[in-house]
Amino acid sequence: MINEIISMNGYGSYVWSAFSFTLISFTTLYFVTKLQLLKEQKKFASKFGSLNKVKARAAISQNINKEILSSASNI
């Protein structure tokens, strides 16, 4: 049964390489995109940390900034 799934009547190398290429592409794109997102979140958190109290209050008044900070704190 397992041998049959692997060899697929001699077409196994074609089928498995097509599926492997697809899954490797998915994994690579996912991690590259995730890394870019984490990098920007960290950059935002460090910039926010360096703001003085007045500027920090002005920044946090925007909901979107609150969301970014809460997602950055989950890293």
């Binding site: 697929m8 077409y11 097509a18 794109l29 996912y30 870019q36 920007e40 970014i68």
Partner: protein, 235 residues
């Protein structure tokens, strides 16, 4: 008119959605892979090589759908001066490009056992290669041009020109004699593919669409945070 497309409102959803989409994608992909690699029958002519269809066809469909969406959002961004549309179209491009590459590579792998060649300058394959070049130009334009107004204009032009190629890809098998067979799956008329193969094809298409959505959401969040990072500099 486009109040529901305001970034502040959208970000609340897009920042929380990826974990749920990822979870759903893993479940649907697992079912799809089991159906495609084990449960679905082999073809009487192509034998097990037909299983490549379950990654090749959904990848081609999604890359075409994504490029059409990019063209619509790019034109809307240009016409209505809505920068959020430009961010949406920019965020769609990476997954569309990867699906285009997957369609070309898995097509070449499928071509060897069925047609006896890895590559042929057939109308459908060539037009898909042209689409990949448009994707590459679109992504490069966003990297090369710094000026926001300029980059929106240039990427819109690339998207419109590339969109002309989309119906050419779709109807290439009807307009020219190609190695590709005619359309087997039709929305408005009879589908010639058997239900035992149509089900795994549908599940794999759903899984690929979920992956495309996942990458779009992550990329959109990255772009929004980039905008907000610039906003902090201006405070």
């Amino acid at each position: 008119m486009f109040k529901s497309f305001e970034p502040n409102k959208i970000f609340v959803i897009t920042s929380r959605a990826p974990k749920y989409v990822l979870f759903l994608f893993i479940i649907v992909l697992s079912i799809g892979l089991t159906e495609a690699l084990i449960l679905s029958p082999e073809d009487y002519k192509q034998s097990h090589a037909v299983r490549i269809m379950y990654v090749h066809v959904p990848a081609a469909w999604i890359s075409l759908g994504v490029f059409s969406s990019i063209a619509i959002f790019s034109v809307s961004s240009f016409l209505f001066k809505n920068k959020n549309f430009a961010i949406i179209s920019k965020s769609l491009a990476p997954s569309g490009f990867i699906f285009n590459i997957i369609a070309l590579v898995t097509g070449a792998i499928w071509g060897k056992p069925t047609w006896g060649t890895w590559w042929a300058w057939d109308a459908r394959i060539t037009s898909m290669l042209i689409l990949a070049l448009f994707y590459a130009m679109y992504l490069l334009a966003w990297r090369i041009y710094e000026d926001k107004e300029n980059v929106i204009k240039i990427t819109s032009i690339i998207a419109i020109l590339g969109a002309i190629n989309v119906p050419i890809i779709k109807f290439s098998v009807d307009w020219w004699n190609t190695l590709h067979q005619n359309t087997s799956v039709n929305v408005f008329s009879d589908t010639s593919i058997h239900i035992s193969m149509l089900i795994p094809l549908g599940i794999m298409t759903a899984a690929f669409a979920l992956f495309s959505l996942l990458i779009f959401l992550m990329k959109y969040n990255t772009e929004m945070i980039k905008v907000k990072n610039k906003g902090l500099d201006r405070l």
